[in-house]
């Protein structure tokens, strides 16, 4: 199978005044891959991700996402990706169905297609009964799963997840990762940041950022061999310890 590159960053850099938040990072992500983007707080993950999503302009370097340049063709980039932020981001005072319709509308999907997709999605989640429930009254786990479903509702080629499982219990996290696998099986590339090292083990490849740079990049097995640790936690700890920046 030909391996197609869907994200390519070359020397991608973001400076805020004299502070270099993201420092010349270079990496590639292949179609259908689950790519873990790791790093301690303040290592520059979110800044890098915002640049890749077309939300922020790079100071130096370049990046292509889904074949479009993030600096110049960000409108096209936005059309071809899904995004789920750290903060839970559905509207509490809208029903499940209304939230889905809203985002379908925002992404310019056909009305009929939206209704079809809503049926499919709720069926897949086993959540048909929740169609008309206000999102505000749902348990956290459901909200999270819905947020993810929403991020891939318009069938993007790539989905960016910024710490998607913060604050949920291990069982829900496990279920959440099953959704991620299912999406990857359908050919959606998943770019995910996380603090949980067990989640890093689920990824096809991971990168670890320290002080704005990518200090390690490879499959979890490769990194464990390279840094001589039995788990990803040891690998991460060994690298994160070298950080000069405080939290």
């Amino acid at each position: 199978m030909r391996e197609e590159i869907v994200i390519r960053a070359e020397g991608l850099t973001k400076k805020f005044g004299s502070f270099v938040a993201t420092d010349h990072i270079t990496f590639e992500v292949r179609r259908g891959e689950i790519f873990g983007f790791l790093g301690a707080n303040g290592a520059g993950k979110t800044t890098a991700m915002r640049m890749l999503c077309g939300l922020s302009q790079p100071s130096e370097g370049r990046a292509q996402v889904a074949g479009y340049d993030v600096a110049t063709e960000y409108e096209q980039v936005k059309r071809h990706i899904g995004y789920m932020s750290q903060k839970f981001s559905l509207y509490d005072d809208l029903t499940v169905e209304e939230n889905l319709r809203l985002f379908g509308g925002i992404y310019g999907m056909e009305r009929g297609r939206v209704e079809e997709k809503i049926g499919e999605l709720l069926g897949e989640l086993g959540f048909e009964t929740g169609r008309k429930t206000m999102v505000g009254s749902l348990p956290m786990g459901w909200k999270q799963k819905l947020s993810f479903s929403l991020a891939i509702f318009h069938e993007p080629g790539i989905v960016f997840l910024d710490e998607p499982t913060g604050g949920v219990d291990p069982v829900t996290r496990r279920q959440f990762w099953e959704l991620i696998y299912r999406a990857a099986d359908r050919g959606i590339t998943v770019f995910v940041t996380t603090h949980y090292m067990d989640e890093a083990e689920y990824c096809d490849r991971v990168s670890i950022m320290v002080d704005g740079r990518i200090d390690a990049l490879g499959t979890p097995a490769e990194l464990k061999a390279q840094f001589g640790g039995p788990t990803m936690y040891e690998v991460f700890y060994a690298l994160a310890r070298t950080a000069k920046r405080g939290d």
Partner: protein
Amino acid sequence: MRKRDMGQFLSFARKEFIHILRDPRSLLILLVMPQIMVVVLGCIIKNEVDDIRVGFLDGSHDYCSERLTRRICSNKHFIGRGEIGTEAEAAELFKKGEIDLVVVYGSDFANQMLHSGVAKLQLLSDGSEPNQASVRVAYARQIIADFQRDMFSEMGGGQKASDHFEINVVSRMLFNPQQRSELNFVPGVVGVVILLICCMMTSIAIVREHETGTMEILLASPLPSIYVVMAKLVPYLIISLLDMATILCISYYGMGVPMAGSLAVYVVTASVYILTSLMLGLLISTVVSTQLAAMLLSLLLIVPTIYLSGMVFAIESMPAAAQALSNIVPAKWFISASRKIMIEGVGVEHVATEIAALAAEGLAFMLLAWRFFRTRLA
């Protein structure tokens, strides 16, 4: 806007309406409070405009002046009190409280009207009751305007330009040359309500998206960020117009507040004011990051509006510094223009300054907001 973008825009604007309709507190502030404010203020400031005792100072005694006198006396709001000899006599009657309004015809009234095209007429009112006085004058003006129109059509509808004539009405308040009028309350309430809705509710609505994190998701969508902001303004624009309409109806039908000038000019002026206020709300939303801060900043703007707009205190009697400062309060321009249109009944050319000032401020707010918005995203 392309068709696809329009659909995206509309689905977003629809969502804004749902937010408002599902929040009882918002609904109360947006669609109940303004009307209650007008009714309460209207009850405090009574406008008893019936049984207006009117006298006539007629030096002409011609066909036209006597016809107009009869017409005013037969109106249900007026009680004719006959002829008055001199202006001094009129002042005496005002002091004794025996009369409410005096109509003074210019000399040679009919002749002036039919031949030179301009006839002079003065309305004297008692300025010690400025509120009622304004209403009385407004009623009289309406009758005079009707009279003028009827005369005009009797003369053959003006095929020739030289057939045009008008009655030049000047109103003067005795005992209160400043013409300070408590009748400001409707223009004032509309001014404050619009500011409240457009600045406070709008800025809160935008900042809420930042606070809940949904703004990130919206900005990551292909919906251009300018549409995100514009779509948030649409419901507040509609609600403001709705409030303006209901307040006008309540005050016109329920409280006898006049609409002496053109309703169309008023609606245009109010729309410009609404847009300016929306831009101010947008500007507020770009400089604060929490809903609480947005509310406080809006309130900080509303307080000077109440004091500096001429709603409570006459601007003419303020110190020079405060007068200068009042020029940057958008509500000052709006209240001044609406008073002119509603009470004095002037045409659009007399409120052009106000409309231009409002539009200029709106534009300035918009440019500033856009600048801050861009910086925030970068």
